[in-house]
Symmetry: C2
Subunit: 140 residues, 2 copies
């Protein structure tokens, strides 16, 4: 099955949760883990990656926690997926064409590229301000 990893799914829950808070409000990773059903030990790794990708800012110590590093309208599903999984390639040859011995005369390469463009476009449109608004409606 072609799918993102579970960690990426958890990362989406973290960003969504933060996007639904009043702007600038911090919350601890443990609190998100509890409310969004993410394993407590795992969420640490997720938060670290999101921080490294500069999608969230973190503060340590008592009273610390995390918040979005920029407005939810400027963070999309694409950003989260790329932060967690690396490139959205579909096929390795799209990202590393040199490694494919056939790529010069390969008509399929072009098809993968087209499909990748369509997928990335869709994921880019899914910004977390929209997702958060929809979440409020659904009562999540």
């Amino acid at each position: 099955m072609i799918s993102i990893s579970r960690e990426t799914d958890y990362a989406c829950r973290v960003i969504l949760h933060l996007g639904m808070l009043p702007v600038g409000q911090r919350v601890t990773a443990q609190e998100i883990a509890r409310q969004r059903i993410v394993p407590r030990a795992l969420i640490r790794r997720v938060v670290t990656r999101l921080g490294a990708a500069k999608l969230v800012t973190t503060t340590r110590g008592s009273g610390g926690g995390l918040a979005l590093a920029r407005p939810a309208s400027e963070i999309s599903l694409r950003d989260v997926v790329e932060a967690m999984e690396g490139a959205i390639a579909l096929n390795t040859c799209v990202i590393y064409p040199r490694e494919c011995p056939l790529v010069k005369a390969c008509p399929v390469h072009e098809a993968w590229t087209n499909a990748r463009v369509a997928l990335v476009r869709e994921l880019s449109q899914a910004t977390f301000d929209k997702l958060a608004a929809r979440g409020q409606m659904l009562g999540a």
Copy 2:
């Protein structure tokens, strides 16, 4: 990195190769492996799966080999990917919504579904008659 497996890439090479042959002509898996740079032992598994998915027909014995089970215009990248990888899900919750404890109120679920639709649409449009024609042009 989000990507298909190498076996799926090999499967595309097999279908492309068959699509570029005169209609109805058979060729052995070994011959495809040689021309398309696929490991000889691996292509067996690929052909078996493509046969199980009814994308190719096989005949055993001397003079045997494989051919497309239907016109190349009726086989798309989507068919090959689904035959090899199973569902194109993007996220497990798209295929198995019951396994996600949050899905009832999850705004992200919808976004994954939209992205999946866009991706599948694109892969469905890439039929192997077009790919084969382009392959002839490129001299593959």
